[in-house]
Symmetry: C2
Subunit: 377 residues, 2 copies
Amino acid sequence: MDRKRLVILGSTGSVGRQTLDIVRAFPDAFDVVGLCAGKNLDLFKDQVDEFNPRYINTVASLGIHNGASQIPAEEIASLPEVDIVMGATVGCAGMGPALAAIDAGKTLALANKEVIVMAGEVLVRRASESGATILPVDSEPSAIWQCLEGEETPPAKFIITASGGAFRDRTWESLHDVTPAEALKHPTWTMGAKITVDSASLMNKAFEVIETRWLFDIPYEQIDVLIHRQSIIHSMVEFVDGTVKAHLGPTDMRHPIQYALFYPARYENPTLPRFDPVKTGSLTFEAMDPSLYPCFELTLDYAKRGGTWSAVLAGADEAAVSLFLDGRIRFTEIPDVVASTLAAHSPIMEHSIEDAIQAAAWATEHTLAQHSAGATI
Amino acid sequence: MDRKRLVILGSTGSVGRQTLDIVRAFPDAFDVVGLCAGKNLDLFKDQVDEFNPRYINTVASLGIHNGASQIPAEEIASLPEVDIVMGATVGCAGMGPALAAIDAGKTLALANKEVIVMAGEVLVRRASESGATILPVDSEPSAIWQCLEGEETPPAKFIITASGGAFRDRTWESLHDVTPAEALKHPTWTMGAKITVDSASLMNKAFEVIETRWLFDIPYEQIDVLIHRQSIIHSMVEFVDGTVKAHLGPTDMRHPIQYALFYPARYENPTLPRFDPVKTGSLTFEAMDPSLYPCFELTLDYAKRGGTWSAVLAGADEAAVSLFLDGRIRFTEIPDVVASTLAAHSPIMEHSIEDAIQAAAWATEHTLAQHSAGATI
């Protein structure tokens, strides 16, 4: 096969590292043109030494390292010689290089769901203008995407599955005293810190609904969420004739990452686990009551209003999660903190991408500022 | 939409009646050109009166009824004006008209799995020569077909699900005294008598494996069978990258019938039930131990040998089931009776369709002859 010329935004994070696992498993398939990362400089240098990118970007001033030039991430993501960009950054800061990839007409495999939450409608429109393709990497929208392949008839309903997160067997009221360490214990998936806390609060599930709404251009009314504790069915699609297709697999992000990297081809990868139905034994489904999950309900309530509300949700949640991880607010305060920032926002309904970026940045700052003086709990 | 010009072979049987339910649900979609049926003459006349076919065939000499001419089923199945033939007959007798449809290059929706069991390899070759398309109607191969849609990479494995049939919670040894009435109580599907008895003995599951092997040109080694009591997952496909796609739905044959009739389009049909994951609650999987199911093990053992063995299996089983339903042999004697006919067969390894038809007919006669003198049990 022709080598795919790949850029990874956020190469030292969970999805970035797993993307490089796929690159390692297929040594002739990829040419790593560029790597971008944040603060984990030791790992980043190791990656640069191993994968020999020609362009790098990180928060530190590396200059030239192992022959690679440090240039802005936005430039790396839009280099003419790049085929596919893996957007594996976390949070709202991923918008800049993701947008650059979209405007340059690249194929953008997007794991960084906050970017879509911030401005899904605008990004999808910009992609259609530039000829860019946005591919889902998150396991739930990836499952939906795979279930839709080859189907000519528009779907009737998407059924997004939710493990329920770290606290799925506890009431919201009982979570008053949970610690960051407890919130970081996901029952089925191993992921980065922010997304794991978002999973515990079900904020992540609301963000997936928003992501799905924009990536597949389907109204919110046609998206259901279901508690499925085993996380084996990654999502389902119901068609108009009542047929339901489900995507099943082990809880290993390398599966959807590999699918996005090679789409539409599938290749055997002996390093990946396989789903064994007999070992799994049984798959369960429970209705999800949004009123039991304040983050979920609040987020969808505001996201459905459109405008810059979603950007504020993304920015405020990012701040709230960091406040929780820093011990400055309680887990159960996350929805209140986000709600308080929403209450202070004056939305722009017909908004540009810049409006969304500004709204998210304002929301993060406003949220942090409200708690800057507070002692840790 | 353009009306599809439809012929139904076996219109008074379970699948035939349900095919007409779909025709009723879409009054502008079909032109029923021909109906063929067996002994249920009262129902057949009602169907002819309701659907006004131009050609009919039944065992009785109807001459002209409601303006329809009685001509041979083979002629009806190959009429130039026919788009799609539903092969809903039961047993080996369905071969003639099914073959006529194939040789005439028609689209043949084939529910009559014995026809494929008898001579799958030859039929698939003849279809490729004539330009005919054979579409599965049986829920398991239909599920596999739907999971394969849009996939470019060959599948790694098919996982056919089995409810386990009427006696799934009993050992084979304990079935010594079961009555036809007990064998006819399928836990999840409502179907005709022969297929329900075949489901109880797991013969039907072995036949589905054979059907799947030929319809999708996949080696036996890549077909697994799994006990799945709820019959909600109708089958699954595992791809080389470890992804598994499953097809889920209510246990209602009208779903796969409608899919075959409209393929590749899907249409809403309010008369059909919907799958509700929450109501279903849980889906279970258990390994299937072939040694616990003598019919299953015997059948696949011989089917894998090729030649006319499969035709003998189809013919002998048809006789054995009728002997059981007539009270002439015990349920647990079905595999012994089939095995005894297999033992008397001299196979033709490079066989024609005529060889297969003769082998099946011989097997039926031989099996019945062995028990013609016996008293009922």
